[in-house]
Symmetry: C3
Subunit: 107 residues, 3 copies
């Protein structure tokens, strides 16, 4: 996975669920099973998406649905066939990609 | 907002203020009012910027000004007209963009 | 550092060490000494890399080695000469870059 590759970013809500699991956890496992090279999850402290509802860690009552950001890295040939399915799993989310140049991926 | 779009990233200090509010909070509200598609805020645990002063969560006395990272997503026609004003609001910050391909943004 | 520049992202494990220091801390100091324009560190809450071992903040026993993400920004002429050395310092990590357009970097 050196040279030209793709970074796919997926933004979703912490409280979203899929098949009885938090959606972000489901996605990480699903991507691992598909053999995708690397995935990292971050929890944002504030944000809004397409529905323009602000979620923030500042107020307890709004903090149960903070933005979760997945960063998914692999070559386009591995990422592209999964994009349609990922989009279907995150109905309220944001999904985009950017081109990257990989210099190192493990040993 | 599908197809070619822009990710604008803004890095600033947690303690920076604007019009009596934390700057990052002001920016999120301001971008929402401008109708920008999506914004997410992350708090870094360590970092330095143009002034080469290291901020880190490791020492209490240096942890009050951790780096805040805003990720702002929309088409270039919506983002570009705001860049100059954003730059003026973050005198000590870092502002850059990268081209993205959006596959999904809400329903 | 305005105009065309480079964002270098480095993913490594929180528990990795280098010269008796946490590797991510060593890297931040090293990059600062090299005069690199800006560096930010984020701690992910879950993720896996080339070895396909899942690290997650959900289980205490797996949470001591969460993914650390460094974002390193400068012009290509400053970043490129360091890439080989950075890759050597993160044997298990992921290192990639993407092109960016910088609008603001401090005063």
């Amino acid at each position: 996975m050196l040279g030209k590759a793709k970074l796919l970013k997926v933004y979703l809500g912490e409280s979203e669920r899929y098949k009885n699991k938090p959606l972000y956890q489901y996605l990480v496992h699903w991507l691992k099973e598909k053999g995708i090279g690397g995935v990292t999850v971050n929890r944002g402290i504030e944000g809004y998406g397409a529905d323009k509802v602000l979620h923030t860690a500042r107020f307890l009552e709004l903090s149960s649905d903070l933005p979760m950001i997945l960063e998914i890295v692999d070559v386009a040939e591995k990422i592209d066939p999964l994009i349609q399915e990922i989009c279907a799993m995150v109905p309220k989310g944001l999904v985009f990609s950017t081109d990257i140049e990989v210099y190192k991926h493990g040993k």
